[in-house]
């Protein structure tokens, strides 16, 4: 029998409360990278997350629709460069997600 200190229905609710946009592994990786820099080029983001171009585009579009990132289009000489920047909402969402996840996990030393 599993013993929990809190109300039995509290845990499923906390899991359900997790931000689904952030919870998806690829988007979590994208937000983590963006939160570690001011602005990140598409190519770097693609390589570092290991996503395909199409996949990354789809995830960044979802994050942009949620207001968690913004796209920056610029030119380096004649070459167009697409970069991304995390928004304040995105940073807050990521921080909140970490807090929620930490609260859900058992404390160290306790099974």
């Amino acid at each position: 029998m599993v013993k929990t200190g809190s109300h039995p229905s509290a845990i499923p609710k906390a899991i359900l409360d997790l931000d689904r946009i952030v919870h998806e592994p690829a988007r979590l990786a994208v937000l983590t990278v963006l939160a570690s820099a001011e602005e990140v080029a598409f190519l770097f983001l693609q390589r570092v997350t290991g996503l395909s171009k199409g996949n990354l585009s789809s995830h960044t579009q979802k994050l942009e629709a949620a207001g968690y990132l913004e796209t920056v289009k610029a030119f380096q000489g004649r070459i167009p460069v697409t970069s991304f920047r995390i928004t304040e909402e995105g940073r807050t969402a990521l921080r909140l997600y970490h807090q929620q996840l930490r609260a859900l996990l058992p404390k160290e030393g306790k099974p």
Binding site: P25, T32, V40, L43
Partner: protein, 243 residues
Amino acid sequence: MTTPDLKTLETLTRDYATFQARKSGLATALGGLLAVVLVVAALSPNFMGIHVLNRLLVEFLVWVPLLWLVAKSIIGPLVYRGLGPVRALTDVAYERRRWRWILGLALFLLAVLLAALYAFASGRLVAHPPQAALQPTPMWILVMPFLYLLAMPWAIRGIEEARAYVVLVGQCMLWLIPFFIFSFGPPAPPLKQGWGLFGDVLGVGILVLIYVVLIWGALAMVRGWKEHREYLAILRRIPVEEG
């Protein structure tokens, strides 16, 4: 998808962005090398019987800081093109230190110029004997300190680079001083005898400066090369694209 864990992603991005902001590995090493070359050239006016330190070389050496800036701007995009621009989070303390170096160099140039003008105008300082190869000064040489300053805030991206620039400019100012004597005022009076303690202190100061520059140059070469290797290591940590 082969995604590293989140902590690794965070560190990797920070390291890459930090390097991208500075890109000073090979540039620092080159700055160190040029600093050593400047000192050696100054100490070896006659190399194996050849008169190395002629006017052309001196004029060339005076251009070294600007040549270094040009070389640096070429090295950066060529060697450190990497995976596109990644801008680091603003490090206020680092930026403040960088600007301190830039301001320090500006004040240094101002102080050296004023001291040189005063010393030559009062006839207390003679840069080289009249028979030396350095002859009437082209006017552009007087503009050099301002060129050094103008290029600086936009071209210097890291503290290591600022240090390299300070050392190169500092040395070139020593080259510029002889030109001032011919640019302002009457022909050089003969070297005054009996400078006493002032002369001794000046001599020791110059000797210490030479050793400091040599040691700094050697260290900058090592440090710059090490930073370059670290950047290559960062690139190796980034997962290779599949398919």
